[in-house]
């Protein structure tokens, strides 16, 4: 079982067949309407600019080869030309036309992505960014998840897009999963929204892309797109309170006495801290530390022992506990599935 978990957790980067050489976060491999709209616009723009580039580049290259001073030059000055109103008018008007075309296409896409309406069946998720992890609230279903976002597939016939309300608990962050949508910032006291409607199941990666402090680099993102049934199953599991296993009672007591509860929530217990990720269903995740390392028993133990060994600068302090207590707490955490 652990082995299965391990292989699933260490390989997720390559889970998607389209990763290939260009990796799993290629903006040119869109899989959701906003990303598609951007993709089409960018291809159009690249074509226009490619044409401009070829023309101007060739003219420049031609000029510097054709008009170089020759060896047998007589040292006279070439004819002096001071300007030409017609030509200058031409290379003013032409760019104006190109700008008009580009602007109008762009404005259309801005409108389509930004002003999209929510169809019935929309999933609402409130994303709260923290230094250096993600909180996902599902108000329609009444639970909170952390670090790994689950959303249902959105079929073209019956679209069930997910609208994300973006907030920040501290500094600026940015939500960027390139294959699903462009990025939008999460800013304190400045609520934003964005939406995705993934067309394929699978794991989509991304990461925070607004500098937010020491561990900005390891504030990774994982979006799991699931079929409707799988998603419903996941929701149902998440809605349950935490498992309580008398076999790990010592660990669960340490969770309180060692102050873990001050920062972490474990639903169904007195732990209701909001400084760190919700741990109610910790073991339903594939990674710890917002994607920093795969969630294995060894890594989990090491994380609790000293989070800085994986994520120096993370805001979880290393607790003051013995090896034995560490084992007990880890055993307890391992039951939170």
């Amino acid at each position: 079982m652990v082995a299965a978990l391990l292989s699933w957790a260490t390989l997720p980067t390559f889970a998607d067949a389209r990763d290939g050489f260009f990796g799993p976060t290629n903006i040119f491999a869109p899989d959701s309407t906003p990303a598609h709209s951007i993709f089409r616009l960018s291809i159009f723009e690249l074509e226009v600019e490619g044409a401009i580039f070829v023309v101007v580049f060739s003219l420049l290259a031609y000029a510097i080869t054709k008009f170089r001073q020759r060896k047998n030059d007589d040292d006279s000055e070439p004819p002096q030309v001071y300007g030409s109103n017609q030509m200058e008018l031409a290379w003013t008007v032409l760019p104006v036309l190109i700008v008009v075309v580009l602007f109008l296409t762009t404005a259309q896409v801005i409108h389509r992505v930004q002003d999209a309406r929510r169809p019935p069946g929309t999933i609402e998720v409130t994303v709260v960014a923290h230094q250096f992890w993600w909180e996902f609230r599902y108000p329609q279903y009444g639970f909170v998840a952390s670090n790994e976002l689950h959303v249902p597939l959105s079929a073209p016939q019956l679209p069930t897009p997910t609208f994300l309300a973006l907030q920040s608990a501290d500094v600026d962050h940015s939500f960027w999963v390139p294959r699903l949508a462009g990025k939008t910032d999460l800013i304190p006291n400045h609520p934003n929204t964005m939406w995705i409607d993934p067309q394929e199941t699978g794991l989509f990666l991304g990461q925070c892309s607004q500098y937010c402090g020491v561990q900005h680099a390891k504030m990774l993102q994982r979006v799991y797109v699931q079929s409707r049934e799988e998603f419903n199953k996941w929701v149902h599991a998440q809605q349950q309170p935490a498992a309580s296993d008398p076999a790990v009672a010592s660990g669960s007591a340490l969770f309180i006495t060692k102050a873990c509860f001050a920062c972490h929530t474990v639903r169904g217990t007195i732990a209701a801290g909001i400084v760190g990720p919700d741990l109610t269903h910790l073991m339903s995740r594939d990674t710890i530390g917002s994607g920093a390392v795969p969630l294995t028993p060894e890594n989990l133990r090491q994380w609790v022992h000293n989070p800085a060994s994986f994520k120096p600068g993370s805001l979880m302090p290393a607790p003051d506990i013995t090896e034995q207590e560490l084992d007990q707490i880890t055993a307890y955490l391992l039951t939170l599935r």
Partner: protein
């Protein structure tokens, strides 16, 4: 006479030189001090860049800690903009503008010295944070909030200690210096031109410095204001950017970028001036469409004041707000296009001499074209939602700053070094410098676009394997070595040529503007008599009395 003034310089004792630097109000000496100071910081920021490139050359690197990496990119950016690019351009402007408009000095020589020392102090102050940034009780540490220092990362909660204060105060000081310099440029150019030099006969370099001065006045002021607000927030409960007390962190972004965007033009417009002086001389043709060049630059200046929020497309502005800034930003492409085509038309039909200054200008033309095109991609808000804050942006603005600005600055060095020192820079070394730097530049920055397209955000101290980023980052890092080698050749060339370079004479390039009418280096008073001009190319008129420019202009 040239050899005479060169001979003079040998006799000065080092102490005397130091005294002269501290006490001088002469535009040429101040110009040189700006340049030397900026070169010093160019080396510093280059070392910072190399360290970062080592760290990023492969996945999961542990060469630098996240804390150190974050300080390095903050210092690299801040240093590059405020203590390399601006001072070096002020230096050239200071040295050249009075000479090119036939004046004896800047309008306010003492303000000039004051401005230099403020800027200089700002830079040293920034680096003093390494020793004192943690306050008296702790060890020092440098600022780590990024060069645009978004609130609330700069608040006392997230940035305790004093490193952010060092950043703020250093920009405040440099800002005062820049405003002083701008006032001086504007006054000098408007009031000190020699007889006959109407605005429409002024060299383009002077025009560009005039536009730069105007831009500085309207853009450094909001930056300075923002620094004061930040200080107030940090120390006297200002709450400007404190969201808990009704402040707005988005306001910081607006203040910063209404400075930050035009700042790009503060830097590149004087470089347009360099290109517009050098390309005609080495193509042996008059500048094509001078009035259009002036009009294009002035309009770039104006339009650039209304585009700042293209740095904020991901902040969540309403759709019409985004569309507005898409339009204004794209409009900049029109005057920029005019400039490129006019340079092209200047080359067209000429007799190009491929001396080092011209090589760097040609590099500039190609690279500026590409930087402009990637700029339009970033101006396309939806595309920017993908590209913003990714390595694509980093590649884009280095294309502007290195491929555009630094290349023309190198061109300027090779072109005016003979005037400044009386000796030529070595051409062979110059060509080595050009080609090695060109290769390094393209290795680093061409390939840097790709990880951005593949989802790599900027400002990450490391990244995981398997994201498709390693190869491109490795190539970028290798390019950095070439760039460093190019810079070393350049510095070596400058030092060796200072002592052993071929004597330049007054006018080594057979050029047309007034600075070439006096000795190299020019005497303290610049010109023996006040020059008078009748056209844009006074020396052309003298060299071609049968076919002077003023017949056609």
């Amino acid at each position: 006479m040239a050899s005479e003034s060169i001979a003079l310089r040998v006799h000065k004792s080092p102490l005397h030189v130091v005294y002269e630097c501290v006490a001088t109000a002469d535009h040429k000496k101040i110009g040189l001090m700006y340049i030397v100071y900026a070169l010093l910081f160019l080396v510093v920021m280059g070392i910072e860049a190399i360290l970062m490139r080592i760290q990023l050359s492969h996945a999961n690197a542990t060469f630098l800690s996240p804390e150190v990496f974050n300080r390095l990119f903050t210092l690299h950016g801040t240093t590059g903009v405020f203590f390399v690019a601006m001072p070096i351009l002020f230096g050239f402007g200071n040295y050249l503008v009075p000479l090119m408009i036939g004046a004896r000095d800047m309008a306010f020589p003492r303000l000039n010295a004051f401005s230099f020392w403020m800027t200089a102090f700002g830079g040293f102050f920034l680096y003093a944070s390494f020793f004192a940034g943690g306050g008296l009780s702790q060890a020092g540490s440098a600022p780590d909030v990024g060069w645009f220092a978004y609130a609330p990362l700069t608040s006392p909660t997230f940035s305790p200690g004093h490193s952010t204060d060092y950043w703020t105060l250093s920009l405040l000081l440099a800002g005062v210096g820049s405003i002083g310099a701008a006032v001086n440029f504007i006054a000098t150019i408007l009031c000190m031109r020699c007889p006959g030099m109407t605005l429409s006969r002024m060299p383009l370099l002077a025009w560009m410095n005039l536009v730069m001065g105007g831009l500085i006045l309207v853009t450094i002021s909001p930056l300075t204001a923002a620094q004061l607000m930040l200080m107030a927030d940090r120390y006297i409960g200002g709450h400007f950017f404190d969201t808990a007390a009704g402040g707005s962190v988005v306001m910081w972004m607006h203040f910063f970028w209404i400075f930050g965007h035009p700042e790009v033009y503060v830097l590149i417009i004087p470089c347009f001036g360099f290109v517009s002086e050098i390309v005609p001389v080495f193509s042996r043709k008059a500048m094509f469409g001078y009035p259009a060049m002036v009009a294009a630059s002035v309009s770039i200046g104006f339009v650039s004041l209304g585009v700042w929020a293209h740095h904020m497309f991901t902040v969540g502005m309403p759709s019409y707000g985004n569309a507005f800034f898409v339009l204004t930003t794209m409009v900049v492409a029109v005057p920029t296009g005019i400039k490129i085509f006019n340079w092209l038309a200047t080359i067209w039909g000429g007799k190009i001499r491929f001396a080092t200054p011209m090589l760097f200008c040609i590099g500039f033309l190609f690279q500026f074209l590409i930087a402009g095109l990637t700029g339009i991609m970033l101006a396309t808000a939806p595309f920017d939602w993908q590209l913003s804050a990714s390595y694509f942006v980093v590649a884009h603005f280095h294309y502007v700053i290195v491929g555009g600005i630094l290349f023309t600055i190198f061109a300027g060095f090779y072109y005016w070094y003979p005037k400044i020192t009386g000796r030529m820079l070595n051409e062979t070394l110059g060509k080595w410098h050009f080609w090695i730097f060109l290769i390094g530049f393209h290795l680093t920055f061409d390939f840097m676009h790709i990880p951005g397209l593949l989802g790599m955000p900027r400002r990450v101290y490391t990244y995981e394997a398997g994201r498709g980023w390693e190869t491109w980052n490795m190539i970028s890092s290798i390019g950095a070595i070439f760039q460093a080698a190019g810079i070393l050749i350049f510095v070596y060339n400058m030092i060796v040529s200072y002592f052993h370079g071929a004597l330049a004479g007054n006018d080594p390039w057979d050029a047309w503007t007034l600075e070439w009418a006096t000795t190299s280096p020019p005497p303290d008073y610049n010109f023996a008599g006040v020059p008078a001009v009748r056209s844009r190319r006074p020396l052309w008129d003298i060299k071609h009395p049968d076919d002077p420019d003023w017949k056609y202009e």
